[in-house]
């Protein structure tokens, strides 16, 4: 038995969004319980030049849907980065998960050999699909989920490692 490129990406993202959604729920509940404006959590950052919580969720969303698109050659929906509340971030997660669920696993066939070129300020980075999945998409996705978790932990939200792992 072995793993397809679908196995190691889309179900992992979907599970990650379940975790992220539950952690955000605890963040909102904590803000309410403490009488804190939830927007202060949504705007919080680990460092002044890092993205706030909202940006971490938006980049997790983009990473996952772009991965599905790049490995299949299909277009992914574009979601504007306009979320400013927990409710809107949850809706963004919901739209992302709906999109991931809509992509036929069969469309990923051969995705490990597909040419993927990432463009950033530093230029272009060419990948073959398998390396893109393991060296970019998965690490990047977990980066944003973990950083979202870390921001809420820094704000005192009572979440623990089991919330992050989802067990």
């Amino acid at each position: 038995m072995s793993f397809s490129i679908y196995d190691i990406t889309i179900p992992v993202f979907r599970r990650g969004f379940t975790v992220l959604s539950a952690v955000l729920d605890k963040g909102l509940a904590h803000a309410s319980a403490e009488g804190v404006d939830p927007a202060t959590y949504v705007e919080a950052r680990l460092a002044p030049d890092m993205l706030p919580l909202s940006g971490q969720v938006q980049r997790a969303s983009d990473t996952a849907k772009a991965c599905a698109a790049r490995l299949t050659g299909l277009a992914a929906p574009s979601f504007p980065d306009e979320e400013t509340s927990f409710e809107e971030l949850q809706a963004r997660i919901g739209r992302t998960v709906d999109y991931l669920a809509s992509v036929d696993p069969a469309a990923f066939e051969g995705g490990e050999e597909r040419q993927v070129t990432l463009r950033s300020r530093a230029g272009e980075t060419p990948f073959v699909g398998r390396d893109y999945a393991l060296q970019h998409a998965l690490p990047n996705f977990f980066f944003h989920v973990t950083t979202a978790y870390g921001i809420l932990r820094m704000k005192g939200v009572p979440v623990g490692k089991r919330d992050y792992l989802g067990f």
Copy 2:
């Protein structure tokens, strides 16, 4: 073409440790340049009840070597959590990578069907190898690498997303 359980774990960890080692190097260089005691970075945390930088590196090490051991049935070396300096954390990473390199990829054959039981304060969690790899080992490994990065970012170390991704 598909992926073996070895493909989706050990090379990913080894690459993650290359990234983590380079990020730690930048942390030490920044402390030196700023005239800050590097130990203050090694002991820094995102939240009072989270592990410090040293603990994040130790848990990344444990996650990776335990994964190799659990998926193969071989014993992993035990490393005491005694690191208090960047140099010692780099040595811990080196010992971990040496161990990962020493395990024969052939020993992972059938690892996706192996029974794995994790024990924590909350009790026992049973897994089959494939779920353990995708739902626990990989997310947990990236959690600790990302949190180590986040701690250094919080301390003002000039590292960016490309350092984390390793491109």
